[in-house]
Symmetry: C2
Subunit: 224 residues, 2 copies
DNA sequence: ACCTGAACACCGTTCAAGT
DNA sequence: ACCTGAACACCGTTCAAGT
């Protein structure tokens, strides 16, 4: 096969939808949602803002494409040997970690529900709920409760991470927050006051999974 | 007591933090988050944008104040005769309805977790979890799972409502979505394909409460 | 103390003009 | 077909100047 000439081969610096989306993801990861700007993006791609509009309709479409691109690489294929519970935990952890790595994902995922990506997730969770032996009438409720919790927790975690400076000392933050809760008026915040100590050795991931297990227990209680 | 003179009494059109926040809430309710602009707000208040900055530090603080103002009027006081489950359902429904009425609330509530308002909610839910007899070690997990679900579901509902044009025919939308799901490839989306029919007479509020009950069942399963 | 409104440094998006 | 970059209509925020 002949070597392509320089002029017809796609050069590394040629603009393309793919290169734009890749650069957008990099920008989102590095600077957060506020960092994704058509000007910043075009500067990084060494072109003008107008050039991007040739390949992408608008910012919404760009964000959607970035979300799809990241989620496409995430989540290992389902393991047929895994139990339904394990598969659900796998999906949940995959999303949790993806959002932990790309906090801007959370906002995108819950912005347009019933979107292709969310529907795919809903179906995957629903399949496992069915495999659990949940009767047909209770499947919709079970699957939607699971997905809502998973997305909600991952989003909350992303919001927490964004509040803190990146690279901040996690232990120190929890220590400080725990002390704050302890200092709260026990009459006004009896629960927080009581539970302040548990915050000190809090593990977000473990907490997240415990919540998933709690809902799974509820589902099992309805469909034994 | 003497009648106050016109000049010292706060005239109806005098600028004040309270009037600003009230106008902000009106604007948010009518036009959504994008509608809250310092220019639109100052036009409504018949003043310049700079005047607002005398009473409010910036847009973030304004959004926070608007959120507090709306949530302060929501949620009936806790009924001491109600069971813990009933109280939790009451808190959940109160939030759900508030967010249904003011969809912009959802984004605000999960933007800054560990904020005064969210902490108060967390404490209220935690108190009821304790009243349920959940052992100390499981209380944190139970309360946070509940709150994450409640906020997540309310947000999802708000996002759904925002996608649809206000005043759109709810039945028609569900009918159309149900038909879409039915038309999906049964190999790729087996669950959605199966469950499409249930979507037709779907009640968001009932669905939401069913999810709360599911988590309550899980909590009870852990702490009988 | 409080308000005014022009001005600054940004946005997303468009579009005539180029190649 | 694809790119350029100035221009438009917006933002949030600041600030000298007024009362």
């Amino acid at each position: 096969m002949a070597i392509r000439t320089r002029t017809t081969a796609p050069r590394g610096d040629a603009l393309s939808r793919q290169r734009i989306v890749e650069a957008a993801v990099e920008l989102l990861d590095a600077e957060g949602e506020a960092g994704l700007t058509f000007r910043a993006l075009s500067a990084r791609l060494k072109t003008g803002p107008g050039a991007i509009y040739w390949h992408v309709a608008n910012k919404d479409e760009l964000l959607l494409a970035a979300t799809d691109a990241v989620l496409a690489t995430t989540g290992a294929g389902p393991d047929p040997r895994a139990s339904p519970e394990e598969t659900i935990r796998g999906v949940a952890l995959g999303l949790f970690d993806a959002i932990d790595e790309h906090p801007w994902l959370a906002v995108q995922l819950s912005r347009s529900p019933w979107q292709s990506m969310t529907l795919r997730l809903f179906d995957r969770v629903g399949q496992q709920v069915q495999a659990l032996g949940v009767p047909a009438a209770a499947r919709f409720t079970s699957a939607s409760a699971l997905l809502i919790y998973i997305l909600g927790a991952a989003r909350q975690n992303a919001a927490n991470a964004r509040t803190q400076r990146p690279g901040a000392d996690r232990t120190a933050i929890l220590e400080r927050e725990s002390a704050t809760w302890e200092g709260l008026d026990a009459t006004e915040y009896p629960f927080l006051h009581d539970v302040a100590g548990q915050l000190r050795d809090h593990d977000d991931r473990a907490q997240f999974l415990a919540g998933v297990d709690l809902i799974l227990a509820g589902i099992r209680a309805v469909a034994p």
